[in-house]
Amino acid sequence: MQDNKPNGMKYYTNTKQYSNLKGRLFMKNIFLALIICMFFSPIVIMAQGDEPKEKVEQVTEKVLQEQTPADSSVKTEDAQMKKDFAAIRVAVEKGTVPAVIKVISLAVIIAGFAFLYLPKKKKEVSNG
């Protein structure tokens, strides 16, 4: 008797198995296409980028020194902020609280290791 099944289907006993395989292959191809799209999307988008690269300017020391009022204020305030923070840190380090916090943190870490690696006590079964 002549086998009328299409080529790809000849190893499968029924059409359900064959269509399942086709479906899986189809899904696999779409997934591959998606991954490829993800990788090539930057190149595709690059051609349509809304901002020419020249307009993007790095904030360097020189730019900050160009004295637009806002930039100048930011620089001053940033310097002041860093100074304030340094002062806070010095004040904080002088106290006992940071040492207490660090000791507690270390104790918590040790407790964690104990939770993980100390063997558990076996329960004794009592019949009375």
């Binding site: 899986r24 998606l34 904030v59 940033d78 904080v92």
Partner: protein, 334 residues
């Protein structure tokens, strides 16, 4: 009482909650979801404490954060909350990686995978709004980028952007951070946990469950890892306090976003502000579609080469971009 009466009433005791789970529940890969959950609880606790010291107005927000940071406990609290948030995001990525490597997003676990992705998006929104509420230069620049992005949305873009600009930005972000997002988080977390209980712990690839342990042992491991990781974060928070930039100024850009958003920052460098969200969008869409494309029955990562290698290559690309951005100076976009 009639002696023939059959009672079906079950008397519950605490022992019923200590049900057996597969032995591999002891491994870090299968405990990382629980460790992340503990991280969220700590974030809620530290967040609530900080709320008492925070003033959610544009004029006072930055000053109140600075005042909090001027005391040792306050400095530790804010730094711990910040580093903890970034650690939790990192743990979520580890959790997702384990699920992808073991193919635990297929079959009956598909719907739980979607709830997990929703939780990832909410966690990122938490980190973003948390960055804005402190209302320093970093927060302001993040907010400006949000407005630019929202304006690009079709139909809903204009009204949302109008709402953002018409309301008090710090209060809007604060309410989102402390009320809207926690409610949404709870909405997706409950089914995530219920489905996890119903489906059981995902299997160890290629191995049948031979031995079982009690749930309490699994929880003990989760606490063990949590104590180590969060204890270390607490120590480092005191050693390296989280940065606070000066009060916001317009007309300049001098900060970079938290590490998880560095890929979006690079896309903005390459293509402009319009394409800021391309990378995360593609990643989220890819994660959503994954269970529809990977329908193989094998659990072994070596037999699911396309998925595993694609994921590894994408992650390597993201890590390379993050390192590049971390070592280059900030760029002005807006």
């Amino acid at each position: 009482m009639d002696n023939n009466e059959v009672t079906t009433e079950k008397k519950w005791s605490m022992k019923d909650f200590n049900y057996p789970v597969p032995e591999h529940a002891k491994q870090f890969g299968y405990a990382v979801g629980g460790v992340t959950f503990v991280g969220f609880i700590l974030l809620i606790i530290t967040g609530i404490v900080m709320t008492f010291f925070f003033t959610a107005t544009v004029d006072k927000a930055h000053d109140s954060v600075l005042a909090l940071s001027s005391t040792p406990w306050g400095l530790w609290l804010r730094s711990f909350h910040r580093w903890l948030a970034e650690t939790v995001i990192f743990l979520i990525i580890l959790h997702i990686s384990r699920i992808i490597f073991t193919g635990s997003y297929r079959g009956s676990r598909k719907s739980n995978w979607f709830f997990g992705i929703a939780l990832l998006v909410i966690a990122l929104a938490f980190l973003f709004t948390g960055t804005v509420v402190k209302w320093d230069q970093e927060g302001y620049e993040a907010y400006r980028h949000l407005v630019e992005q929202v304006q690009l949305l079709p139909v809903i873009g204009a009204p949302i952007s109008g709402f953002l600009q018409a309301t008090s930005v710090v209060m809007t972000m604060f309410v989102t951070h402390t009320l809207v997002l926690p409610l949404l988080f709870l909405l997706f977390l409950i089914p995530h946990l219920v489905l996890m209980k119903l489906n059981g712990l995902s299997p160890l690839p290629g191995k049948k469950v031979k031995r079982e342990i009690k749930l309490s042992t699994h929880i003990g491991k989760i606490f063990g890892w949590s104590f180590i990781i969060y204890g270390l974060i607490s120590f480092l928070a005191m050693q390296y306090p989280a940065e606070l930039y000066p009060g916001p100024y317009t007309g300049t850009e001098m900060t970079k976003p938290p590490w998880i958003f560095l890929v979006t920052y690079q896309f903005e460098n390459w293509f402009g502000v319009k394409y800021l969200s391309v990378a995360p969008m593609l990643m989220i869409v890819g994660l959503i579609l994954l269970p529809f494309f990977d329908t193989k029955k094998e659990d072994y990562s070596t037999k699911r080469k396309i998925v595993v290698w694609s994921y590894l290559i994408i992650m390597a690309f993201f890590i390379a971009v993050m390192i590049h951005i971390a070592i280059t100076p900030p760029v002005k976009h807006l």
